[in-house]
């Protein structure tokens, strides 16, 4: 039991560190793509770690399973939204690049 509790605390601490890093990246990185890069990865792993840690702390499988499911769902939707944001940003950049080139010509 002690081991599980310790492991749970460790996982949560690791998750919080990753989330803090994601926030730092969002704050400090210069443009949308690098920010997304920091956010999606650290975010997904952070949430997964926190959820796993909380599941271990609770000590029951009935809690651990839904929490794991939550982590999986956050991972899927995080990846998809990250992709969608990057895609729409790329589209916009292309459009503005084309229009500026058009104007200068």
């Amino acid at each position: 039991m002690m081991v599980l509790t310790l492991l749970g605390h460790l996982l949560i601490a690791g998750g919080v560190v990753l989330l803090l890093l994601a926030a730092l990246g969002l704050w400090r990185f210069p443009d949308l793509h690098t920010r997304l890069h920091a956010l999606t990865k650290a975010d997904t792993a952070g949430v997964a770690l926190v959820a796993l840690g909380a599941g271990l702390l609770s000590g029951s499988a009935a809690t651990l399973v839904p929490l794991t499911l939550c982590a999986v769902l956050v991972a899927i939707s995080g990846a998809t939204t990250g992709h969608l944001i990057a895609r729409s940003a790329l589209d916009e950049e292309h459009a503005s690049w084309r229009s500026t080139r058009h104007d200068s010509v």
Binding site: T80, H83, L84, R87, S88
Partner: protein, 301 residues
């Protein structure tokens, strides 16, 4: 925990201020979304998980989506700001209100809890063991019935005043379809789970309906669902079904037991579940149509 609560309160204030002071609409809406999620967290801290679920799903999530959509339709905000005097007056009023509330909260007598023991005393006869569901669907079901009327009135308003027809959402690329394949069925599953859970634990028709609406919205963005292509009559029928079932159940109960909304003895849970099932479908459909808009005017949509 007091440190956490203080930090939460401070964060809520900061989020509120950032929503109010953001220079553009998108920024203000982002502030509002953060604000809503933090408020949901504070509901959890206040031991009200049902309210937290509703706040996160409807108060923050869906309202935020509606706002983003409205902001996308509107012209950019005019340059002229609100006059200084008006801002000062609003600030003064807000401060007065806050002061009054502070005085009232300081003064609150702690011990006049009348309602809680009443609910606990009759919970056994309500057919469900979650006190929130017992209040919403049994003790004060009349309020819930009328709340559904509010939701429907809002939809009537949107249909009467909203823009005609809905633009097709932009294509979202190859990664979206697999995402949809997981999320759409899952939303139905989760909605059913929340609905069933409502009898014994936090959950119920409103949360389930919001989740269902999330799945429907995902389908809409994927281009798999086009409310504009469906005649308005059946869509209206779908939205009205839940509340019509509710009203019919209220009257049927009156016929059966002689009292409005008094479910027959022993069958409370079945009645409540049937009503909630209808409500879930209607809430999901209504929230979706509030977002996409629909045409008024029967079959010739």
């Amino acid at each position: 925990m007091i440190v956490f609560d203080l930090m939460l309160a401070a964060a809520i204030l900061v989020a509120g201020w950032s929503a109010l002071s953001a220079p553009d609409r998108t920024g203000a809406i982002a502030g509002f979304l953060v604000f809503g999620l933090l408020v949901a967290l504070s509901w959890v801290r206040l031991d009200a998980p049902d309210v937290a679920l509703a706040e996160a799903a409807i108060g923050s999530g869906l309202t935020g989506a509606l706002m983003l959509r409205a902001a996308g339709r509107m012209a950019p905000p005019a340059a002229d700001r609100v006059p200084r005097a008006q801002r000062a007056a609003a600030a003064l009023l807000a401060c007065g209100l806050a002061g009054g509330l502070a005085v009232a909260v300081m003064d609150l007598p702690g011990a006049t809890i009348v309602y809680d023991p009443l609910v606990r005393a009759d919970l056994g006869q309500s057919g469900v063991s979650n006190p929130v569901t017992a209040v919403l669907l049994n003790f004060r079901a009349w309020d819930t019935l009328l709340e559904m009327a509010v939701l429907l009135a809002a939809l009537v308003l949107v249909a009467a005043l909203g823009p005609r027809g809905t633009p097709r959402p932009a294509r979202l690329g190859p990664l979206y379809t697999p995402f949809l394949r997981i999320m759409a069925p899952l939303s139905v599953l989760v909605a059913g789970h929340l609905l069933w859970l409502g009898a014994t634990a936090p959950g119920g028709a409103f949360q389930a309906g919001a989740v269902l609406c999330g799945g429907l919205l995902a389908l809409y963005f994927g281009g798999a669902l086009r409310p504009a292509a469906v005649p308005a009559g059946p869509l209206w029928a779908l939205c009205a079904a839940g509340v019509a079932v509710f009203a019919a159940a209220a009257l049927a109960a009156e016929v059966l037991t002689g009292t409005l909304l008094a479910y027959p003895d022993g069958a409370d849970k079945i009645w409540i579940l049937a009503i909630e099932g209808g409500l879930t479908v209607s809430i999901g459909a209504t929230l979706l149509l509030l977002f996409t808009g629909l045409r008024q005017g029967g079959a010739r949509a």
